[in-house]
Amino acid sequence: MLTLECPYCGVKAEETELQPGGEAHLKRYGPGSTDEEFDGYMFSRKNPKGVHFERWRHAYGCGKWFLAARCTATLEVFGTYPAQTSEPPAELQAKIKAKRPNWEGYK
């Protein structure tokens, strides 16, 4: 059972306190988008074996959504950060790159 630190309230939250929200940093495609764009937004997920960016809500805590970078194979957590951002913080990206030199970036 994972523990993730909520970047808002600083609590090291256990998985039972959290609600998972799937892949992070998706771009929303609404009316006017092509079928391919919408399909990609709605259904296509990376599902990597390795570094993954994902959404979690501290549902039974402060109620805030936050983002986490985690290795899906080893469950190593590289860091958590607030959801109000369109890309992972630069220092977190650098940290992951140092630990996983073959990582291809979050995009």
Partner: protein, 993 residues
């Protein structure tokens, strides 16, 4: 015979005798006994029957690895099957019974299976019961069901209580032997928060029995001092009778504490499940001795050498008067010495190795014991008890050289580290050629949240089988704080792996070499599986059932996979192990449930009027965690009658519904209107203050997700009603979009569901009831349909919404939750002259169906879009975007072939079963009858006095008047006509008065 010795026994207190019964026979043991030692002390070697062949089974081991000795323990509300006697502490008055036999333990009819063993090879289930097909249902299954299963299921409610507890530590050390104690001392001195847990009732593990000396003192004495030192450290927690059941992600450790198993009924919880978070885990879980595979190794009286030693040293019980030792290593000679020390006879040591010249064998020889090197056991004599052993050359085919009379055999095939916890979370193993064992590979441990090793194996669990190595290893692993304890034990010469005894044993012998005692899996079964193509150890396990019994193969797995490797002509590491899964030993269901049973199984949500409903005949319906009255039963009234009575009362006069459970979410802020326009399919920003509007919410995938009435409370404030089950979900949904997508919008939300009690007052006399309460003008002109007003009603601060889900003149009134019950009482009093009738959810459902209103979860199922329900009027054409809009533009969503909402009226007035399908001509690609629609809601309408239904039908709205066939059970077909879904008051004259 097995018997209690007149002196010795380091764990028993002879001044405290304890009585117990086994199969009704009275027996006696002492405080400190396990059930196993007490049974052996009373000469009860035969304790059960095996699963498949019903072979007689005796006690083999002295700890958690015991495969055979399972009993039913206790009576009534404290009966539990499959209790391992080796890990059950004796208590006064214990009632035990053996399992898996009929009519008695000594004479068992099922044992005929044993004579027919040739017909029950591995996989016989899959081979035997195939043909003819009908035979399974009528012949095989009833027989198999009768004879399957181990032990009896308890029939009475569990009298004990159980609890959860939570623990946090920098370091959890699992296993209180000398390695665990050494590590705890070092880590404790460093100031870490340390937990040391031990599954048995005693500290020290095997060292005291094995004659180890530490720091110049006997192990017992050192252990006592170490525990005293640890008890004085405030940062160290010690727990006996606590078994680490499983290790999970990020240092999550489940530990199972058997608080009161040995003191039943003393008021304490029986078991406690510790949910722990460990910064780091050290497994000091020791090692388990392996049996040897020789013919008849399952006859009662054949035991592990270490177990024989334990029974003599710990409990002063001799498993036999004459014990032959069979071994491939030096350690087993310790058993010979222990037996000799106790004055018991050791006729011979049979050692499979060509020579045995270590210190231990020499010490045994010096006592005048015959040591037969290069020899093995051809077969064991005896059926319900060992009577002798037939000796052969290990290198041969089993030709008997001599027979040695004995009543016990102590066997040792070497030791396997207990690597379960190490492996649970991904730690890998490496094959140790010297000791023929898998041990933890320190370069491939399970890793934690920080990517670093989460587990360290220490002591014999790490493959350090000698005490000196184990203690040194533990001290270093725990940071080498303080002086390292120095352990001294006898030198040991190398062991030599023996997987089959004798090496060249033919089929007849291999069929009597047991690997898995409980499930009756033999060497021949594993070899057969290999011949039949089962190359993966995981497949072989499932095909033969090796290691699938309640002991999970603690004794059998390594021997089994060695035999498999041999049959596949490959090295043991190439075969690998099966997966180690929690729990390490079985834990009680009670411990898993904890306190969550009966009334506190889950929290119940109650409205302020709950107690009134309770005493007025509420027939409860669970709605999420809420309980809502389905209807109110009067004396002698059935549910159906009550529902119909309630509906007639509302349609004719007035009724009250407790609608407090309805979700209520405040959405407020400068961008609230813009936000709601994105959330709902229709326009909410244009709603005037003081007005209400019905709205629909869809998922991004376009499907209808929730509905409800929205009221605009002020320029920047809206109140959104959701379904009862949807409040938390929709509030979360709103927060998701606000926090993660439109985080620059100035909006906040609050779920105020429980702040208000809400009552629907519905029926032609609704207005009169409110007027009687007084304080607000609720006339048609002052308070129009789909408007809300705030004021004081009968002295209550009230917000009154004029909305209707029943189709009648209707007001929904919200008051502060604390005043809900008083307000309800006031409404009842005011309505008395009109015969006001409280009604439940079923009346509400039927009345909404009479009006053709949809219900989330009935008309919707996650595949239905609003357009399917003819709700285009609630979808804005002006808005460029809302959640779900893009999805609803997809080709399949705009297809004219989608099933659409219609009403259905049976030709004979009957009620169609819910979910019934309308069939069409022809068959589909799978040869199934084509479908053209289905029923989504169906009721008996007391208003119309006939069955009414709603359903989704292909091209439905264009097919009014057409009759559809709905096949139901027993080949019956119900015919129903497609009609308008609004069955009652199409023009809304009832609600607009």
């Amino acid at each position: 015979m097995s018997t209690r010795l007149s002196k010795g026994g380091r764990l028993i207190d002879r001044s405290k005798p304890m009585g117990f019964t086994f199969n009704g026979k009275r027996m006696q043991g002492y405080q400190g006994d396990t059930l196993a030692s007490a049974l052996l002390g009373a000469d009860q070697m035969l304790v059960g029957r095996s699963f498949k062949y019903h072979r007689p089974r005796g006690i083999v081991a002295s700890g958690a690895e015991e495969p055979n000795a399972l009993v039913g323990l206790g009576q009534g509300g404290r009966f539990e099957p499959n209790q391992r006697v080796t890990t059950t502490e004796l208590f006064d008055g214990a009632v035990t019974e053996s399992q898996n036999h009929w009519p008695s333990l000594d004479f068992d009819v099922g044992a005929v299976n044993d004579k027919l063993y040739k017909f029950f090879p591995a996989g016989f289930y899959y081979k035997t019961f195939m043909f003819p097909r009908a035979a399974w249902k009528h012949v095989f299954e009833p027989i198999v069901r009768q004879s399957a299963g181990l032990g009896k299921v308890p029939t009475a409610r569990d009298e004990d209580r159980y609890e959860y507890a939570y623990g946090f530590a920098d370091l959890v050390i699992v296993g209180g032997g000398i390695a665990g104690l050494t590590a705890a001392l070092s880590a404790g001195r460093k100031g870490q928060r340390v937990w040391l847990i031990e599954q048995t009732a005693h500290w020290g593990g095997r060292a005291p029995v094995d004659g180890v000396e530490i720091d110049g003192k006997p192990a017992d004495e050192w252990v006592r001092t170490a525990v005293e030192t640890l008890e004085k450290m405030e940062n160290v927690t010690l727990r006996l009778r606590t078994m680490a059941s499983g290790l999970y992600d990020h240092g999550y450790l489940l530990a199972y504490e058997r608080v009161a198993d040995h003191t039943p009924g003393d008021g304490r919880p029986r078991h406690r499940l510790w949910r722990m978070r460990a910064g780091h885990v050290m497994t000091a879980t020791g090692a388990i001795e392996r049996p040897l595979s020789f013919a008849g190794n399952d006859v009662p009286g054949v035991m592990l050498a270490s177990a024989v030693r334990d029974y003599v040293a710990n409990w002063a019980v001799s498993p036999g008067d004459r014990t032959v030792i069979v071994t491939n290593n030096d350690d087993a000679y310790r058993t010979a010495l222990t037996l000799l020390e106790a004055g018991l006879a050791v006729p011979a040591v049979i050692d499979a190795r060509p020579e045995a010249k270590g210190a231990l064998p020499e010490a045994v020889r010096a006592r005048g014991v015959r040591v037969l090197t290069g020899h093995g056991v051809a077969k064991v004599k005896g059926a319900k008890r060992v009577t002798g052993v037939s000796v052969c050359m290990q290198a041969g085919e089993g030709a008997e050289i001599e027979t040695i009379a004995c009543d016990a055999i102590a066997m040792s095939g070497g030791w396997s580290p207990v690597v379960h916890l190490w492996s649970h979370c991904g730690g890998k193993l490496t094959w140790d050629e010297d000791h023929a064992m898998f041990r933890p590979d320190p370069t491939r441990p399970a890793t934690g949240a920080d990517g670093a090793a989460m587990v360290t194996a220490i002591g014999s669990a790490n493959g350090m089988l000698r005490a000196a190595d184990a203690v040194a290893d533990a001290h270093m692993a725990a940071g080498s704080e303080g002086t390292a304890p120095k352990a001294v034990s006898a030198e040991e010469a190398p062991m030599s792996p023996v997987w089959i005894m004798p090496e060249g044993a033919g089929p007849a012998l291999r069929m009597k070499m047991w690997l898995d005692y409980q499930n009756d899996v033999k060497v021949s079964d594993v070899q057969l599986a290999a011949r039949e193509g089962y190359e993966s150890v995981e497949h072989t396990k499932r095909y033969t059932t090796l290691g699938m019994a309640t002991d999970q193969g603690k004794l059998s797995n390594i021997n089994g996979l060695a035999v498999l490797s041999d049959a596949l002509h490959q090295a043991i590491p190439a075969t690998g192990t099966t997966t180690f899964r929690p729990p390490y030993t079985p834990i009680s269901i009670g411990a898993i449930a904890g306190e969550a049973r009966g009334e506190i199984f889950q929290p119940l949500r109650k409205t302020p009027m709950h107690d009134w409903h309770e005493v007025h005949g509420a027939h409860w319906e669970p709605v999420g965690q809420w309980r809502r009255p389905y209807c109110y039963l009067r004396t002698g009234e059935g549910v159906h009658d009550a529902v119909n009575r309630e509906i007639r009362a509302i349609r004719n006069s007035v009724g009250l519904l407790d609608a407090s459970t309805l979700g209520k979410i405040i959405v407020k802020g400068p961008d609230a209107g813009r936000f709601l326009d994105m959330l709902y399919t229709n326009m909410m920003s244009t709603l005037a203050v003081g007005k209400c509007r019905y709205g629909l919410m869809c998922t991004e995938n376009g499907f209808l997700s929730d509905d409800g009435v929205v009221a605009r409370l002020s320029e920047d404030t809206w109140l959104c009603h959701t379904t009862t089950g949807g409040a938390e979900r929709i509030h979360g949904w709103m927060e998701d979009w606000l926090q993660c997508e439109w985080w620059d919008w100035k909006v906040y939300t609050a779920n105020v569901t429980e702040e208000y009690a809400q009552v629907a007052v519905a029926g032609p006399n609704a207005r009169k009831v409110l007027e009687k309460l007084g304080g607000m003008d609720v006339s048609k002109d002052a308070h129009g349909f789909m408007e809300w007003r705030e004021g004081t009603l009968g002295g209550f601060r009230a917000r009154v919404y004029r909305i209707s889900f029943s189709g009648e003149l209707s007001y929904e009134i919200a008051v502060p939750a604390s005043e809900g019950r008083a307000f309800w009482d006031a409404l009842l009093a005011a309505g008395e002259e009109f015969g006001v009738t409280p009604y439940g959810t079923e009346a509400m459902h039927i009345m909404r169906a009479e009006k053709g209103f949809i219900m989330i979860g009935d008309e919707t199922d996650g595949t239905v879009i609003p357009q399917d329900l003819n709700l285009q009027w609630a979808i804005s054409k002006k808005k460029t975007d809302y959640l779900g809009k893009r999805a609803q533009e997809r080709s399949y969503m705009v297809s004219p072939d989608r099933w659409k909402l219609v009403g259905l009226e049976t030709l004979d007035g009957s009620v169609i079963p819910d979910g019934a399908y309308a069939v069409a001509d022809g068959v589909n690609a799978n040869g199934q009858r084509n479908m053209q629609g289905r029923v989504t809601s169906t009721y008996y309408s007391p208003t119309l006095n006939k069955g009414i239904a709603m359903g989704l039908v292909k091209h439905g709205p264009d097919r009014m008047g057409e009759v559809l066939d709905f096949p139901v059970d027993d080949g019956k077909v119900i015919k129903a006509r497609i009609v308008d879904p609004v069955f009652y008051d199409k023009d809304g004259e009832k609600q607009n008065v």
